[in-house]
């Protein structure tokens, strides 16, 4: 086939479609060509203003205080950016289409008629039509905010540079340098990061351990009252978490809370400063999260346990294995294998578990020498920087660092999840 090619339709068509539509005219697909041409004209006539204004704003972030609102300009700039990307996408498709059809002509194939093109469009376009509502929404509520945060982390937007009275400026990577160089920020960042990691591993591992353990205990064949215990143990999952956390916050109250006034005093232990001493607050948080989180693991493990074939245990009995040997050799590997993907999501969930930290003690107690509370994890620190101290630029930079961590974990999980290896599943 290739040796017969003497015509150069593909190059000509591709080159001509630098002006959208002309490549299609060259291929004698007039309807399609007109559509591309009209689209282009419409695009420029309706968006040229948006694009001009948007890119000007994006580059300068405004020139006159009060008149130019830097943050609004930034938003308009991102919209211009998105519009431009969509436009470029259509433009690229126009060239690709002309080139492709030119290639077909080179190879001696007949091109599709208008009617066939229409059917083709319907068939190939249908999946795009279906995903576009969801994707559009995602662009606005998820992707747009992400771009915004990325850009914001390179500005000096804070209380002292707060529009409309003041302008915001691009400062390059100054925020990142500050976080790692200025003593206050560095010590706070690493302090918070350290606790976030301890919290993520401590709380999650404890809740997983308790969940698996209780599921195994309850699943013994000769144990009575399974349904009763299962229903009770699943309750913390069923009650809305914010309600339980607020209840705990009352129970752990230092002077009036039932833990200090009744339970500990009954055991003859002095009142513990749950809310004012960093270490005790941290301990309380890990205990509370275990209470909140174990039922989920418990329920899943129960499901897995019921699917382990009985013969495995019978064979182990014949070999004279003890309870613990059976647990380590059969139960635990089976459970971990089946629930591994979900266990990882438990870790990422706790890594960003804002509710329990914030609702229990607002991230406190306060700690001298740093600008985050003693139990603040990264996400609640970002919240504080944004909502109370107005350090928007720094907060954005920290959000970027946090996302980096999460993305690395996500990619790592992605690599080891089996389903991605099967091409068809993707």
């Amino acid at each position: 086939m290739d040796s017969n090619v003497t015509t150069k339709h593909r190059k000509n068509a591709g080159f001509l479609s630098i002006i959208p539509g002309f490549g299609q005219f060259y291929n004698k697909q007039f309807v399609k060509g007109i559509i591309f041409l009209v689209l282009t004209v419409a695009f420029f006539s309706s968006f040229s203003q948006t694009l001009n204004w948007g890119f000007w704003g994006l580059i300068t972030l405004g020139e006159i205080p009060i008149l130019d609102h830097s943050i609004f300009l930034l938003i308009d700039g991102i919209i211009a950016l998105l519009v431009a990307i969509i436009g470029l996408g259509i433009y690229a498709f126009n060239i690709y289409d002309a080139y492709n059809n030119g290639k077909k002509r080179d190879e001696g194939f007949l091109l599709n008629s208008v009617r066939e093109q229409y059917h083709n469009l319907l068939d190939n376009g249908f999946p795009y039509l279906m995903i576009s509502p969801g994707f559009l929404l995602l662009i606005f509520v998820v992707i747009f905010p992400i771009i915004f945060v990325i850009l914001l982390s390179f500005t000096n937007y804070d209380l002292y540079h707060s529009p409309p009275a003041k302008l915001v400026d691009w400062v390059g990577i100054q925020n990142y340098i500050d976080i790692f160089k200025l003593d206050l920020w560095r010590s706070t960042f690493f302090g918070v990061l350290g606790w976030t990691i301890v919290w993520t591993f401590g709380a999650t591992t404890l809740q997983v351990a308790i969940g698996v353990f209780l599921a195994v205990v309850i699943n013994q064949k000769d144990l009575k009252g399974k349904a009763f215990f299962r229903t009770i143990l699943i309750l913390p999952w069923a009650v809305p978490a914010f309600v339980s956390i607020l209840i705990f916050s009352g129970m752990f109250n230092e002077s009036f809370g039932v833990i200090n006034t009744q339970i500990l005093s009954m055991l003859g232990i002095d009142a513990i400063p749950w809310m004012t001493e960093e270490m005790w607050t941290r301990l309380a948080l890990i205990l509370i999260q275990s209470w909140l989180g174990f039922p989920f693991i418990f329920a899943m493990t129960t499901g897995v346990l019921q699917s382990i074939p009985e013969e495995l245990y019978e064979a182990a009995n014949v070999d004279g294995a003890s309870i613990f040997q059976k647990f380590r050799g059969i139960t635990l590997p089976m459970v971990l294998y089946a629930t591994a993907p979900i266990l990882i999501t438990q870790y990422t969930f706790n890594f960003n578990n804002f509710n329990v930290i914030f609702l229990f003690n607002g991230g406190g107690p306060a700690i001298p020498g740093q600008n985050a509370g003693g139990t603040d994890i990264l996400i609640s620190w970002i919240y504080q920087l944004t909502m109370t101290s107005g350090q928007y630029g720094k907060a954005a930079a920290i959000t970027m660092l946090l996302s980096l961590i999460v993305i690395v974990v996500a990619l790592w999980q992605f690599k080891r999840t089996n389903s991605f290896k099967e091409e068809d599943m993707m």
């Binding site: 943050i71 249908f126 998820v142 905010p145 915004f148 607020l246 209470w291 993907p341 979900i342 919240y383």
Partner: protein, 280 residues
């Protein structure tokens, strides 16, 4: 003989463990139930078994003159229901497209969803706040619902796609042979078969807005627009302890229906998660 004593010891220890676990689980819940019947207002005097139980805190919650509780309840219900409807619609279509069609950008789209589901959308809370301000959606339920629906899409699309992948493709193909169009196959063949996963997605997208605190807290400013979470938080944080019993009554009223809903559907939750989880 030793076998029998061993069994007795093992079972007794098991029962003891379960009993302790059950007490730890149930104690805070009973305590808040008891507090809600306490005659006093404050945290300090409340006991689990009050001597003169009273319903007055429940009554005061429904006194619409002085309490916004009923409003919060309705707001939460409204927001959760609307979120659920829109999330199910968009997740069903998106999941179907990803499961059944092979198109350019499919793989990258799925990858994007996978990464997005790991970053909670409130990580970009500054952006959400400023963007809502710019579009005048701050302090509106519509803005909040949009964010919730968008946040539900990535993870649930994966669940949906995982489930749809298990429905044999021969079904679609034979229907196509018979002349059924794209939409017809989707509505009349695939959707009826995916009822279980739709139930799961619906439950998830109902419960998630209900349990959310941070986004509602960022978005909603005026007290009569609050959701349950923000409202109850304000109730306790304003003057901690002083209105504790009222808060307790409010908690009980919200916890009971959600708990019942949850317990009756929990087995779907688990099957949905494991089905989607092991496949995606």
């Amino acid at each position: 003989m030793t076998n029998k004593t061993e069994k007795i010891i093992r079972l007794s220890v098991s029962y003891l463990i379960l009993l302790i676990a059950a007490i730890i689980v149930i104690y805070p819940l009973l305590w808040v139930l008891g507090s809600s019947f306490n005659p006093g207002q404050s945290l300090s005097g409340s006991t689990m078994f009050p001597e003169n139980p009273t319903f007055k805190h429940y009554k005061s919650l429904f006194d619409t003159e002085n309490s916004n509780y009923v409003l919060w309840y309705l707001n939460s219900m409204k927001i959760s229901l609307i979120t659920m409807v829109f999330a199910v619609l968009s997740v069903a279509v998106t999941g179907y497209a990803f499961s059944r069609y092979r198109f350019i950008g499919r793989k990258n789209g799925l990858l994007t969803f996978l990464v997005l589901q790991m970053i909670p959308n409130f990580a970009a809370l500054i952006a959400i706040f400023v963007l809502a301000q710019r579009t005048d959606l701050l302090d509106t339920h519509a803005g909040l619902i949009l964010i919730y629906v968008g946040g539900q899409i990535p993870m649930n699309t994966w669940l949906m796609k995982g489930y749809l992948d298990t429905i044999p493709k021969e079904l679609d193909e034979s229907a196509r042979m018979d002349g059924a169009g794209h939409l017809r196959i989707f509505w009349q063949i695939i959707m009826p078969l995916s009822k279980p996963i739709i139930a799961v997605v619906a439950l998830f997208s109902f419960i998630a807005p209900f349990g959310d605190f941070i986004l509602a807290r960022i978005m909603l400013r005026s007290e009569e627009k609050f959701t349950m979470g923000v409202g109850l938080y304000e109730l306790v944080s304003k003057q901690f302890g002083n209105e504790f019993t009222t808060f307790a009554a409010g908690s009980v009223l919200i916890a009971i229906p959600i708990t019942i809903l949850f317990l009756s559907f929990q087995k779907y939750f688990i099957s949905g998660l494991t089905a989607g989880g092991t496949k995606g």
